[in-house]
């Protein structure tokens, strides 16, 4: 049996067969559990562009709210062949190579501060990059020779981070934003840039943001030197920081 060829210019969800568009969505509506609410969920799914939508699960959340799981067929397609996502261009070095690079090109300890800023309390991202034990077999920056890594933890106000950066003469700031509501991470991230400019140290630090909702493209708009999405490891960030320091003559 020959496999049907995927048309990359018209990609749609796969359920049981190619291009059947089968999609599952889940959401909560602020209405009491019942037949009316199920019908409301079904109609909403149709408005979302799902054909033959059917509510396969409805759960009473109490206080007049209901949770739904809906199946349906997505009508839309995406042209995968034209998609380009800018990524951080960095020749990732191994930990030992980064350490050698620091010794050779910078010749002193590199001071790096990491923090989850603003309201964000989810340190999983910054911990994976910074912590000694690292993540997924990749040691964190705290273990790097030639790096003085400080993890300031969660919900760090931008002002605190800036004050600490001045106190410790930081070379690089890593800011993590994992979970935020209503795009508050955007204004939180720009506020940090503005504060650094006001303190006159923006051009003296390598400024990096990271998190599942941050792309490298967005980083540019925010005023950061780089943005790392999910799937980045300590050595990616470390390589970028030390190479950028040399490029900008911050050594």
């Amino acid at each position: 049996m020959a496999l049907e060829k995927v048309d990359l210019t018209k990609v749609k969800p796969y359920g049981d067969t190619l291009n059947d568009g089968m999609t599952q969505v889940s959401f909560t509506l602020p209405v009491p559990y019942g037949d009316e609410s199920k019908e409301a969920a079904r109609r909403l799914a149709i408005k979302m562009g799902l054909e033959e939508a059917s509510v396969v699960e409805a759960k009473d959340l109490g206080v007049g709210y209901t949770y739904f799981v809906v199946y349906g067929k997505c009508q839309h397609t995406i042209d995968y062949s034209t998609i380009q996502v800018p990524k951080v261009e960095v020749d990732t070095m191994e930990k030992e190579e980064v350490e050698a690079y620091i010794e050779k090109h910078i010749g002193r300890d590199v001071v790096i501060l990491g923090a989850c800023t603003g309201t964000d309390a989810h340190t999983v991202g910054i911990d994976a990059i910074m912590n000694m034990k690292g993540f997924d077999g990749h040691y964190g920056l705290e273990r790097y020779k030639g790096m003085e890594a400080h993890n300031l933890g969660s919900q760090v106000p931008n002002e605190e981070l800036v004050a600490k950066a001045i106190e410790l003469k930081a070379d690089a700031l890593l800011v993590s934003q994992v979970v935020t509501q209503k795009d508050v991470h955007i204004s939180n991230l720009t506020e940090l840039v503005e504060l650094l400019e006001a303190e006159g140290i923006r051009d003296k630090v390598v400024l990096v943001c990271g998190g599942p909702r941050l792309s490298h493209e967005l980083a540019k708009e925010l005023g950061y030197d780089a943005g790392f999405g999910s799937g980045s490891y300590a050595e990616d960030v470390a390589s970028f920081v030390v190479e950028e320091m040399v490029k900008r003559k911050l050594g």
């Binding site: 800018p86 951080v88 002002e159 605190e160 800036v162 004050a163 001045i166 106190e167 795009d183 955007i186 204004s187 720009t190 506020e191 840039v193 503005e194 504060l195 400019e197 006001a198 303190e199 006159g200 923006r202 051009d203 792309s215 490298h216 493209e217 967005l218 980083a219 540019k220 708009e221 925010l222 005023g223 950061y224 030197d225 780089a226 943005g227 950028e244 490029k247 900008r248």
Partner: protein, 346 residues
């Protein structure tokens, strides 16, 4: 009203800053491009964020494209160069890196759509602006990004335009209040006393902090930033203190800490370099004013005009006429609705 008339022959570098994303910066920019074309002004153009991409990367809303005429000078990045449809002659490759490649200064040879992403840091922005002037631009426009405002600093650009709009809040009064606050900050007066201004400028130049007493004696405060140093600053004040010079930023907590230490701040004027150094919201600002704080700047920002966008991408809008009227009554600078000006003029 022609915005270019406020700029031409007065200012060579102008920043365009927004109260928020989707406040209408790009629409304002296009308006300026149009006016410049009519008057035959050769513009230099760059952006600290991104411009000219068809879709916004934060809100996925459609963005106005940027169409540049022949001879316009533009500073953009290597990546954007490849995506632009205008023919560009490269004048200079700078050594300012960005997340999208090096900043490149070009002249438009054949008009067309251009994607723009310029330098990231204020210092680089200033250098690139100077370079565009030397390549023949009569006026250089620096477009902002999201809600970033530090390019409005007089040490970077000579004048600024503020874009504001319904996107800030569903409550029209809140939009007006926040915009008034920003305009008031931009219009903060410089210290009048020439001797004090001289002393202040000297301290600011050295990035240091200090107190000037009533006899004109300067006592430096040994801190590297005012952030978290409110108590130190408070302790440096006594009844003879008249001015405090703060080189970096001024945040809410610094003033709060000063208040817990001493009442002497009531006879003191705090001086920051310019309004972009102030990070205090509208409500807190009023509170500090009531408690007797006086804050001045060394350099005033030349805020030329506020542009309005009554539409919000969240799907609501204000009545353009009401919005325009409220802003006009409350703002101490000219106001233009860039979306519907002709209708409002009737």
């Amino acid at each position: 009203m022609e915005i270019m008339d406020l700029i031409r022959h007065k200012y060579k570098t102008v920043s365009l800053v927004g109260m928020a994303k989707n406040a209408g910066k790009t629409v304002t920019l296009n308006r300026l491009l149009e006016e410049a074309a009519e008057k035959g002004i050769t513009l230099g153009l760059t952006s600290i964020g991104r411009d000219g991409e068809a879709q916004d990367i934060v809100t996925s809303t459609e963005k106005p494209m940027i169409y540049l005429l022949e001879d316009t000078i533009v500073a953009t990045t290597e990546d954007c160069l490849l995506r632009s449809d205008a023919k560009l002659e490269i004048l200079e490759v700078t050594d300012y890196p960005t997340a999208m490649g090096m900043v490149v200064i070009c002249r438009v040879k054949n008009e067309g759509y251009v994607e723009i992403a310029g330098p990231d840091t204020n210092i680089a922005v200033k250098e690139v602006a100077m370079s565009m002037l030397s390549h023949g631009a009569e006026i250089v426009l620096i477009d902002g990004a999201i809600n970033r405002k530090t390019t409005a600093s007089p040490s970077i650009t000579e004048a600024t335009i503020l874009a504001t709009g319904a996107v800030l809040s569903r409550d029209i009064d809140k939009v007006v209040e926040e915009t008034i606050h920003q305009v008031d900050l931009f219009n903060l007066k410089p210290v009048e006393d020439v001797m004090v201004l001289g002393l202040a400028e000297e301290l600011l130049e050295n990035k240091s902090y200090g107190v000037i007493d009533q006899n004109g004696n300067v006592k430096t405060i040994d801190i590297k930033t005012a952030i978290n140093s409110g108590t130190v600053i408070g302790r440096a004040l006594d009844e003879d203190s008249r001015y405090v010079i703060l080189s970096g930023s001024l945040v809410k907590k610094t003033l709060e800490d000063i208040m817990t230490i001493t009442d002497a701040y009531k006879d003191v004027t705090f001086i920051v370099r310019d309004a972009t150094k102030i990070f205090i919201g509208a409500k807190e600002w009023k509170f500090f004013e009531k408690r007797g704080f006086e804050i001045r700047v060394a350099e005033k920002i030349n805020a030329l005009v506020a542009t309005l966008n009554p539409y919000a991408p969240q799907g609501y809008q204000f009545n353009p006429r009401d919005f325009y009227k409220k802003m006009k009554q409350n703002l101490s600078l000219p106001v233009v609705d860039v979306m519907l000006e002709e209708e409002l003029d009737e």
